[in-house]
Amino acid sequence: MVYKLEQRITPLSRIYLVLIFFILYAPIFFLVFYSFNSGGTMYNFKSFTLDWYKELFQDSRLLIIVLNTLVIALVSSLFATIIGTLGALGIHSIRKRQTKNTLLSLNNVLIVSPDVIIGASFLILFTMAGIKLGMYSVLLSHIAFSIPIVVLMVLPKLSEMSPTLIDAARDLGASQWNVLTKVILPFITPGIFAGFFMALTYSLDDFAVTFFVTGNGFTTLSVEIYSLARRGISLNINALSALLFLFTLVLVVVYYFISHRNRPGRWGGKK
């Protein structure tokens, strides 16, 4: 009986939670709010205007950057998902404990490494390998840092799968290929999708790595925002952030449905 009472939230703790939510969201809504300011500053709201959005859509350079960012994100996530899933299948099939653990530790290096280290070391790598800094170096880096997260999303699904399923399929005469495409892959699809989505958000969100490995003439949205913000306030960025916020919400809802259908109670975080 006592615990029934404890399950309740006291008014004080409710205030605390409301405060936390307020702090988390206030800056975002602040940005969105001032994107409608005709005054051109982030104080003194003069009057409502959509000019900044109009300007945004007329800025063809910026639109190309948005397109670049999306293409890089989609292509890199696709490659990362393929390589990562294969890697997870490989790691899962290894019986020797030590080899498995070594591979897993190597897998996690890029996840824990600070972005600056990844960026700097890839910069050295591409320069040594003679790869010109630009779209391809950015694409390769994004594939590289997204692979481990895909592995981490797919592996638990593989260990959840009962080995008797595969035995049964074999007994019923399924070939290797059939076992893979008709039994294993359908079972781990939710993990693969979750991995793809995480890779997508990693890529869309990345700033530091891209900042290091990009060359003249190729920028992604994050890098562009950084150089705009260093120059000071321009409400174009506010309009852009409002649109990105909407886009993020859509992504979150999609991800929510995918992961909730499969694995209730777990969320992948981002660095």
């Binding site: 939670l17 602040f30 982030m42 490989g90 290096v109 993020t248 979150v252």
Partner: protein
């Protein structure tokens, strides 16, 4: 036999990735740290690192990362705890996570407006009679914005740990006469320590290396290890010195990982 062939086929692209993008970059950073700016092999970078300037910078970087981690933890733990008690806890957790999906630079940019000389924070300070202050480009704004950015990452693992806590243990503690504080100190906290460690790890390591925040928010008043690396690589073009700092950052990273135990999946 056949099995082994397929397995190696699976592992080939993945192993190639490990060699090219995990092992090779690490080795290259170590290799480069032994060259001075003219490209001669030397230990001069290490000598420079152990001078007062760099040691002081490392210490202050540590200090800021420590502050950011502790403040995030103090704010995040009660939040995670209260979240597990809400009715639709998964939904609320999702709402905590959404801001972390917004581009970090946009959030930093928002604070340029909020903390600016004529910004909303200063109008508030004036309204309550303190008068406007220089908030932007101070170490306060750096810590504040960093904590703001890292809170969701701290809440997430702690929430997961609290969520997995068996409620009957709390009943048992209660039945045995433990006060709320004792229950927290002796039961809840020790059982969720893994979540706390994971949270500290995801906050502390990036906090050592955030260079964009120091540039945008702290106006170069705060120099973290990350800022120094970026400076050496992209401004001074002294890759050797940059790599040396990177080597130390990597060492610190491994040290912290071994201290905080292995990170759980997906966090």
């Amino acid at each position: 036999m056949n099995n082994k062939v397929t397995r190696n086929l699976y592992l080939f692209p993945y192993a190639l990735w490990i060699v090219l993008f995990v092992v090779a970059p690490l080795l290259l950073v170590i290799y480069y740290s032994f060259f001075d700016i003219e490209g001669h092999f030397s230990l001069v970078n290490y000598k420079t690192f152990f001078t007062a300037v760099y040691l002081k910078m490392t210490l202050s970087s540590f200090w800021y990362a420590f502050l950011i981690t502790v403040i995030s933890l103090i704010i995040a733990y009660p939040t995670a705890y209260l979240l597990t008690k809400t009715k639709h806890k998964q939904l609320w957790l999702l709402l905590i996570i959404v801001p972390s999906w917004i581009n970090l630079l946009l959030k930093a940019y928002a604070f340029l407006g909020i903390f600016g000389t004529k910004g909303i924070a200063n109008s508030f300070l004036e309204a309550i009679g303190i008068g406007s202050k220089q908030i932007l480009f101070t170490d306060f704004s750096f810590v504040f914005v960093s904590v703001y950015i890292f809170i969701p990452f701290m809440i997430l693992p702690i929430f997961n740990a609290l969520n997995e806590l068996n409620p009957t243990l709390l009943d048992a503690a209660n039945d045995l006469g433990a006060s709320k504080w004792i229950t927290f100190r002796r039961v809840i906290f020790p059982l969720t320590i893994d979540g706390v460690k994971a949270g500290c790890q995801v906050v502390f390591i990036p906090a050592l290396s955030l260079f964009m925040l120091t540039r945008l928010i702290a106006g170069n008043r705060v120099i973290t290890l990350g800022t120094a690396i970026e400076q050496q690589f992209l401004v001074t073009q002294d890759w050797g010195m940059g790599s040396t700092i990177a080597v130390f950052l990597i060492l610190i990273m491994f040290l912290i990982i071994s201290l905080t135990g292995n990170r759980k999946r997906g966090v």
